[in-house]
């Protein structure tokens, strides 16, 4: 599904290397968690995958379903099936959430050569999916993320994910700013999308999200590389001991 090979990335504005050779393979239907201390390059990885400006790939490639996506525009990557749930969802005054969703869904269908959804079909689908995420009609009518609470913003990200039905979902610290109930709701939304084919990369600081979204593989990222890979028990180890011991061990090796 996703293959990141020896990815090196630096900032465009300053000569600062952020990723120093990331290797990661995510198979179909798998859930991978990336953990790591602040500044290790987790969010940069998600931005580079989604095609955000400001980063320069100096080496390596990212293959999604056999295609090197680094050559693609962000919208082409989205149409190819990549979805990033933002850590800080953006507020867009003047564009209703509903218009935003319909524009996105139809743009992707068009890019894939499919017919656009009729207004009725779209409404039916969005209402059903919004309901399961406890997103009410008012939130759909309001401008995108404007005046939404932290939890509402994250639920809105999951709603977009549910509507766009991507092949690969990247969740960038989706748990940040969520209380326990909101985290449960968001996790249920994510789990509902697990169908054995769709893959997930879950970026998080904390193990607690992984209690709800159970990963197959856990990676530890540090200083622009994945330094350790293991099963779910690796997340528990981090939760109990912090990163210090683990990183000391890595550095020794």
């Amino acid at each position: 599904m996703l293959e990141i090979k020896n990815l090196h990335v630096k900032l465009e504005e300053e000569d600062k290397q952020i990723l120093k050779g990331v290797n990661l393979t995510v198979g179909e239907g798998e859930v991978h968690a990336i953990m790591g201390p602040n500044g290790s390059g987790k969010s940069t990885t998600s931005y580079v995958l989604s095609g955000r400006d400001g980063y320069v790939v100096t080496e390596g490639e990212v293959i999604l379903d056999g295609e090197n996506i680094l050559e693609l525009e962000p919208e082409e990557r989205a149409a190819a099936g990549l979805f990033l749930a933002f850590q800080y969802p953006v507020e867009i005054p003047g564009v209703s959430n509903m218009t935003f969703l319909r524009t996105a869904v139809n743009a992707q269908r068009k890019a894939r050569g499919e017919e656009e959804l009729s207004a009725t079909d779209f409404l039916k689908t969005v209402r059903a999916k919004a309901k399961s995420l406890q997103i009410d009609a008012d939130m759909l009518k309001r401008p995108v993320n404007m005046g939404f609470s932290g939890g509402e913003k994250k639920r809105n990200e999951i709603l977009q994910m549910a509507m766009l039905e991507p092949k690969l979902c990247i969740l960038d610290e989706t748990d940040s700013g969520l209380d326990v109930d909101a985290m449960k709701l968001v996790s249920e939304g994510v789990n509902a999308l697990r169908d054995g084919k769709r893959s997930f990369v879950v970026i998080t600081h904390y193990q607690r999200l992984l209690d709800h979204i159970k990963p197959d593989v856990v990676h530890i990222m540090y200083d622009g590389r994945i330094v350790k890979t293991g099963g779910p028990e690796l997340a528990l180890e981090v939760e109990h001991n912090g990163y210090a011991d683990l990183l000391a061990e890595v550095e020794k090796a």
């Binding site: 989604s50 095609g51 955000r52 400006d53 525009e73 962000p74 919208e75 990557r77 989205a78 149409a79 979805f83 990033l84 933002f86 969802p89 953006v90 507020e91 867009i92 005054p93 003047g94 564009v95 218009t99 935003f100 524009t103 996105a104 743009a107 992707q108 890019a111 401008p143 977009q160 766009l164």
Partner: protein, 431 residues
Amino acid sequence: MTRAELKQKKLDATAARVEGMTLPAGAPWAEALRQDALNRLLSMGLPQGRDEYWRWTRPDSLNAAEAPKAAVFVASEAPVFSGLDRIKIVFVDGVFDAEVSDALEGENLEIMRLSDALSSDIHWVKDAYGVQEKKAQDPVERPFATLNTAFATDGMVIRATGKVAKPVSLVYLHKKETSDAILHHVIRVDEGADLTVLENGPAAARFNKVMEVDVADKAAFHHVRAQGRDHERRAVTHVFATVGQEALFKSFTMTANGVLTRNEVFIDIVGDDSVAHVAGAAMGDGDFLHDDTVFITHDAERCESRQVFKKVLRNGAKAVFQGKILVKPEAQKTDGYQISQGLLLDDNSQFLAKPELEIYADDVACSHGSTVGAIDDEALFYLRSRGVPASDATDLLTLAFLAEAIEEIEDAAIAEDILHRLEGWLKRRRK
């Protein structure tokens, strides 16, 4: 240049401008009103670039004795408002054309050609023609409006005596490359009446238009205008309005292109518990200068006024906003709002704003803001990451930027029509 020299320059320019022009004939009272306007014009003089009120918009081409040429544009698309059920009144290069217009009649409506009204022995317009224009010369002179009162050759006198179901739609066609049109409309919305006036079309190579509106107590007046098409046209327009008690005044203008457009709006809120909103969405590409100069006076209690002006600019287009809210000492509980924003689609364009508040009452809420900026990169990336192509995303964000102004149009069908034009304008400019 000394003040005396500037004044002399203005007077010289005025003399050159009016040379060879004759005051249109009419009833003695009308001729007297016109003569009074001419006298006022000759003593104040036409504006020069040195005038504070014209610092950002050069009046030279408006002052020139002859109208600069403007090519006539042939559009494939039907003009705005075409699909609406309306009373259509057509002017061709500033001359009323009865042949292609609807009958000047309607329920709760009196419409008469200006020249007919000004030739009548007795007509209510006697106490209205040029009256608001004259009053609005203080504290800032508006000489082009005075020139208009003196020399207007055509226009409509419209009175609503109750709710008028269909909008009165003034359509301005431009057919001659050098046409120079001066139109003056006088509108009265009687107590409790409700009238919508639409305006569209390029009118002439050079267009000077005045609209004087008297909105009586409990009356409502809606005005939506579209200034588009012929790019080389120049226009200076004035809307003067007096708003009575518990009355409503709403004016929205869409401007797309035009080398020079100066739209002045002067509103006097004289009755308590009234509402006056003025809004504009301007889209400029290349050699484009658009100027909104607005002056709203609160002279009554518990009134609300809003000024919402949005400008989208590219390729060196320039836009100006000069807006003022004046709250007189007795206008307590005034709620005033003013926003002017420029969206620059490149680094060559320019938005100049002068927001002003002058408040003499102590129990008021007035807010104002003015911003200029580019498309928000974060929002653009967010949309693209969801699969929306960059050009669609940019258009969507541009329309979102204009939304607050378009929301000022109450009628859904009219708003839809305007929105469709704005979308078309953006689509035609896709890279």
